[in-house]
Amino acid sequence: MDHDDATAMFSAYCDKQLGVPERAALDEHLQSCLVCRRELAKFEATVESVHKLHPMSAPPDFVAGVRDRIHKRSRGRFFRPGQRGRMPIEVVSLVTLGVVLAVYLVVQLLHPQLRLP
């Protein structure tokens, strides 16, 4: 194995993607090659430095910003201000129908003379 062969395996080595024979061949080369050992150390440090970048958080008003954009693009159809948690019209209709039916049944029970012919 020469320097180029070894270098070509650095990425897979860092990601633990080398098969057993490839890993053994690279380890054997590294034992006898100071240049490749140094290069691998730099390569690993590079990968590590990206991995350790500070994770950036979205600004606090991010969700509100997205909501506003969709509200504007949909010409007010979605994310209407003050409409959070509003029940869908289908649910409102069903509940209203249930209440009317319940009132009708109670009236029928209490005043059977009012029953429709």
Partner: protein, 194 residues
């Protein structure tokens, strides 16, 4: 795709606004972090990341659920970044790798990051900031495709297979281009840190 993701998807496709806010809350930091590192600028990152979620809202019906929701989000995010960089490129914008003031403040105020855990005090903070700046500058030097691959693998921790799904590249191409990108970054950091 997990059962909870599938349930969330069903609610999203029914245009459930609360489900959408829940989804944005879940993924906003992942998407923002990726976009910030791609664009190298907080203002652009916020603009692009918000557009990513607008696209998700508009296109949720076209998502069939044959990959993880996050994979689909990353695909939309990387496409938006590419388009925005192309647009800005025509106006001579370049991701410089400079950290914005607001970002520097966040870094200084944040809990000690793993980049500077050894030494306490202002020197350690400055050292961490300098390294952060240098690495970001190195990332900004990579071309868009190489930058995307490094960020998906080394920042977002995606597997080769997931990266292949996000980028649409063959698995072998992902491996070889990621390797080239890391080598380029190594050379940049070696020059910078001399």
């Amino acid at each position: 795709m997990s059962t909870s993701e599938r349930l969330l998807l069903t609610r999203l496709q029914a245009r459930d606004e609360e489900a959408f806010e829940e989804m944005v809350g879940l993924y906003q930091n992942k998407v923002y972090n990726l976009v910030y590192r791609m664009m190298g600028n907080a203002g652009e990152a916020e603009e692009v990341a918000q557009e990513v979620f607008v696209t998700v809202f508009k296109s949720i019906d076209s998502f069939r659920g044959d990959s993880k929701l996050s994979t689909w989000l990353y695909r939309i995010a990387t496409n938006h970044c590419k388009n925005r960089l192309k647009y800005l490129g025509r106006r001579s914008y370049k991701a410089t790798g400079e950290l914005d003031e607001a970002v520097e403040r966040e870094l200084q105020d944040s809990q000690p990051s793993s980049m500077r855990p050894h030494i306490d005090g202002p020197e350690a903070v400055l050292e961490g900031l300098e390294l952060e700046r240098t690495v970001q500058a190195g990332i900004a030097e990579l071309d868009e495709e190489h930058r995307t691959l490094v960020l998906l693998r080394d920042v977002e921790d995606l597997s080769y297979d997931e990266i292949s799904k996000v980028t649409g590249l063959e698995l072998g191409t992902v491996k070889s281009r990621l390797h080239r990108a890391r080598l380029q970054l190594k050379d940049f950091l070696a020059r910078w840190l001399k």
